[in-house]
């Protein structure tokens, strides 16, 4: 039985995969599953700048319903991104924390 899904997005929002991941994360959450959304690698660009209004709404709904939004501190550092430049507030973690999160998930879904 699946209770907790990890949705891992590895692309910025210009790539459909990012949007599909976000949609599935919100659908899982709305469907009663615990959903953790991880923005990995290039996925951290979703945290910056302006996004289409539809995607802003999806992120807002996900976060308002206590969805977990995560990224690696090292992925931000590699791209020269600082906390002040982010337009969403993820929980940053190190690779060991990410490993623990993945171990807790019943299903890991890469987008």
């Amino acid at each position: 039985m699946i209770n907790h899904l990890a949705i891992v997005i590895r692309h910025p929002w210009g790539n459909e995969r990012a949007v599909l991941g976000l949609r599935t994360a919100l659908a899982a959450q709305t469907g009663g599953f615990e959903a953790s959304l991880v923005l990995l690698g290039e996925g951290v660009w979703n945290l910056t700048g302006a996004r289409p209004a539809y995607l802003d709404k999806l992120f807002a709904s996900f976060l308002e319903n206590e969805g977990g939004l995560f990224c690696l501190e090292s992925d931000l550092e590699r791209r020269g991104l600082t906390a002040g430049e982010l337009t969403l507030r993820p929980q940053t973690m190190d690779p060991d924390d990410l490993g623990e999160l993945m171990a807790q998930a019943d299903s890991i879904n890469l987008f």
């Binding site: 599909l20 599935t24 659908a27 709305t30 469907g31 599953f33 879904n109």
Partner: protein
């Protein structure tokens, strides 16, 4: 017996993932497991019936045979006949301008919010392949 939900993101030709997903699904069915297959993104192209081209293909026999090796419609229908439950995401079909095209036998119109989450509710394992 377990129930496996496969979410497929890739279409037929862009890589070998769709081929792998269908082989995995067939193997699971052969082992007595239940399969839910959700076609999302480019995989939603796999939901539709083919429209045969009637003119000169303009392909060498070798090129046509190579391209034909990527066609998966028959295998999708075989999976459905074998008991796989197959839904497609109508939103990603809409984005591609193919919503409304006839579906293959055994494929149903669906969406992430209802079909996919219902699949998850009855699944022991869920994989996303893209």
């Amino acid at each position: 017996m377990a129930t496996l939900t496969l979410t497929l993101l890739s279409g037929a030709v862009e890589n070998e993932t769709a081929d792998f997903a269908l082989r995995l699904a067939q193997s699971a069915l052969d082992q007595g497991h239940r399969i839910n297959l959700f076609l999302l993104g480019n995989a939603s192209y796999l939901a539709n019936q083919e429209v045969p081209f009637q003119g000169d293909k303009g392909l060498t026999p070798e090129l046509a045979a190579y391209m034909d090796s990527f066609r998966l419609t028959g295998r999708i229908e075989d999976l459905a006949k074998a008991g796989a439950v197959i839904h497609t995401c109508h939103t990603t079909e809409y984005a591609r301008g193919v919503e409304g095209c006839p579906y293959l036998a055994g494929v149903s119109r669906g969406n992430v919010g209802v079909s996919w989450t219902k699949f998850l509710m009855t699944s022991d394992l869920a994989l996303t392949l893209g």
